[in-house]
């Protein structure tokens, strides 16, 4: 990963490196707090994978390896900023305060959403690749019209970077100078398709062609992801327009629990990336520079275990929704076909033909 254009503030071994454009502004206390975020989000991910294997979730999209990118970006947000995720932004949802059990409602197949997006200022998961990026640009245009001191942070992957919606988003954000930051997690694969199939140039270089800056950051370096995102958001809020961030990372797990990555990548590659683990890297830093004691790590570990137990209980407590709820909010205003459907199903349920 020797790349002179890559912004890195912490080596895989946990040693600080200086960068001419980005200084680390985080205190030891903040770094430890963000380490805790990463550990809990990874634990959430492992528990969710187990729950899926046990038949308790319909699907799960693992995040392992991308915790540094997401906690770094997520903690760089100001409270009033708005985020537009894909279906894998579990770390961002955590940073926005979305209750973890709500995050799992989609994967438990009891909801197609899961939380109040206005309350947490975190849009709902978007599964159609790239749709949310245009929605995010529109939201940013609204911020401009309101004259608000806010910015939008939107997410997509190397796979979705080929979608027309993402490229149209670049055009619009540039033309309207929208207060938005495009955060692309290049985790190397769109299911099995390598990122080299999506682009023959490093993804961050595309931004220049659209008329705004692109930055490639070490996606496994939480400190760098934090500083680069924070600067880009500040620039957007100040009227400086869009920035694209390519967080160069690696999806350590499968695309989803339905995927089998052994069919398209070799173990040796995964082993290389294991040594760049975002969590271990911060742990080394904390031990080396901040003399964080083993007891502190142990406490976080215990908290994560307790968290996972509660999460499991919360998920198992999510029962089958009332079938009639499918008619709620299909429209905002009265609709004869909704009334008819609700009545027909209500009669069937009353006759006892429930499933």
């Amino acid at each position: 990963m020797i790349d002179e254009e890559l912004v890195q503030l912490l080596t895989p071994e946990g040693e600080r490196v200086a960068h001419p454009d980005y200084a680390c502004t985080l205190s030891g206390e903040q770094i430890l707090s963000m380490y805790r975020d990463m550990v809990i989000v990874r634990r959430l991910c492992n528990e969710s994978t187990s729950l899926q294997r046990q038949g308790q979730l319909a699907l799960w999209a693992p995040i392992q390896g991308q915790e540094g990118a997401q906690i770094g970006a997520g903690r760089a947000l100001a409270p009033m900023d708005f985020t537009f995720p894909t279906y894998r932004e579990h770390g961002i949802a955590w940073c926005r305060g979305v209750p973890p059990e709500n995050l799992l409602r989609l994967f438990r197949a009891v909801s197609n959403g899961g939380w109040d997006p206005q309350k947490y200022r975190h849009h709902l998961p978007t599964i159609v690749l790239g749709n949310q990026v245009l929605n995010a640009v529109g939201y940013a245009m609204g911020i401009q019209r309101d004259g608000a001191d806010e910015a939008v942070l939107t997410f997509f992957g190397d796979g979705a970077s080929s979608q027309g919606d993402v490229l149209e988003s670049f055009v619009w954000a540039s033309s309207f100078n929208a207060p938005i930051v495009f955060f692309c997690q290049n985790n190397q694969f769109g299911i099995s398709t390598p990122s080299s199939t999506q682009s023959k140039v490093p993804l961050f270089r595309r931004a220049r062609g659209f008329g705004f800056p692109g930055v490639r950051v070490d996606g496994n370096d939480m400190l760098a992801c934090y500083e680069v995102t924070k600067a880009a958001l500040e620039n957007a809020r100040a009227g400086g327009g869009p920035t694209m961030i390519e967080a160069y990372t690696y999806r350590m797990g499968a695309h989803t629990t339905s995927d089998d990555p052994t069919r398209y990548r070799v173990d040796a590659e995964v082993e290389v990336w294991k040594h760049r683990d975002p969590i271990e890297r911060i742990k080394s830093l904390l031990v080396r520079e901040y003399q964080t004691k083993p007891a502190a790590f142990e406490a976080i570990h215990e908290e994560a275990e307790a968290f996972a137990l509660k999460l499991r209980d919360d998920v198992l407590a999510m029962g089958r929704p009332d079938p009639l709820s499918m008619f709620d909010h299909a429209y905002a205003e009265p609709h004869p076909l909704i009334d008819e459907g609700r009545r027909q199903m209500g009669e069937l349920l009353a006759q006892g033909s429930a499933h």
Binding site: P117, V128, L134, N135
Partner: protein, 328 residues
């Protein structure tokens, strides 16, 4: 306020103006809608009066026009998106069916997708390919969307305002061949709800239902039929999704005979839905099967032969003869 005479294009323009005056959150977005006033001049002068932040000339990307309108809706704006022509809506189809139609539901009612997608549709203007299509059935088929069509300047003026005020997303189909036809507009009042079907001409023998450009064709057919002693009841559907079936049922129970007219291809269409539903609801009142007069199952033809494709007065009258012929 007085009744005044204007074209449908002007009525839409005035309706948009009034909606923008009433609600500062109403925005217009589209290609060439600012300085040019749109290729049909529907938004003529609005950018000058409301500014570039509210009447937005966009890059040429339809998916982005709708996709950003979704984000603006999340932020509390009501955006009227202009698709330049019916055949250019398809790049936006993904955003319309995947996000616009679903986000109110997915957010458990938190988001209001109060946006309008204006679609100049149907043919009859001698245009080249992709400028004369009738894609309404795609949208009418999609839960979460509503679809309407205006046929008169009065309805154009009021329906566009009602659509903008609606908290549901609306595909607003404008019969482009009628843009320049004049009619009376009552600026003070409209008696109809947005989805109400309206009886344009009362009759007793056959119920003839259509929307958009077909309304005028049906009225001409009714004149011709009267000369032959057949009385047609002409209904302007207006609401394509949902359909005002009570009004259609009331008519069909009186006449017992149904003809549906549309420019769109017949198979799996709005007309198909009307015939199926009315057969179910009015079975014992029917004196003949419902007949559809529609476009053929071919890509919209070159304009030099489009009048052989579009429902004509003669084709409507042939259908009337067919349903009258079932009488023993």
């Amino acid at each position: 306020m007085a009744t005044t005479t204007m074209t449908m294009a002007k009525a839409l323009n005035e309706g948009l103006r009034r909606a923008m005056e009433k609600d500062p959150k109403v925005l217009l977005m589209g290609e060439d809608i600012g300085k040019l006033g749109g290729v049909f001049r529907i938004t003529d002068g609005l950018q000058k009066d409301f500014g570039q932040d509210r009447v937005i000339d966009t890059p040429l990307a339809e998916s982005a026009i709708v996709g950003t309108a979704v984000g603006l809706a999340i932020r509390g704006y009501r955006t009227v998106c202009e698709m330049q022509f019916d055949g250019f809506v398809f790049p936006a189809f993904d955003q319309i069916v995947s996000q616009v139609a679903k986000l109110h539901k997915r957010s458990d009612g938190v988001y209001t997708m109060g946006l309008v997608i204006r679609l100049p549709f149907q043919g009859g203007i001698g245009a080249i390919e992709h400028h004369s299509e009738s894609p309404e059935a795609y949208f009418a088929h999609t839960p979460g969307l509503r679809v309407v069509s205006c046929a008169t300047p009065h309805d154009a003026y009021w329906m566009i305002q009602q659509a903008i005020e609606s908290d549901d997303p609306i595909i607003f189909c404008e019969p482009k061949s009628r843009y320049w036809e004049k009619g009376e507009v009552d600026l003070g009042h409209s008696p109809h709800g947005l989805y109400d079907a309206v009886v344009r001409r009362e009759g007793s023998d056959v119920t003839v239902v259509g929307y958009g450009s077909s309304v005028k064709t049906m009225l001409r057919a009714a004149e011709a039929a009267q000369d032959e002693g057949v009385s047609l009841e002409v209904i302007d559907l207006r609401g394509i999704a949902p359909i005002d079936f009570p009004t259609l049922v009331a008519s069909l129970e009186k006449t017992g005979r149904l003809v549906v007219v549309q420019e769109a291809p017949r198979s799996t269409s709005v007309g198909s839905e009307i015939v199926a539903e009315l057969t179910e609801r009015c079975f014992y009142s029917l004196r003949a099967p419902g007949v559809r007069v529609a476009g053929y199952h071919v890509p919209y033809p070159p304009a030099r032969i489009e009048e052989d494709y579009r429902p004509s007065v003669d084709r409507v009258l042939d259908a009337v003869d067919r349903v009258m012929g079932y009488e023993s």
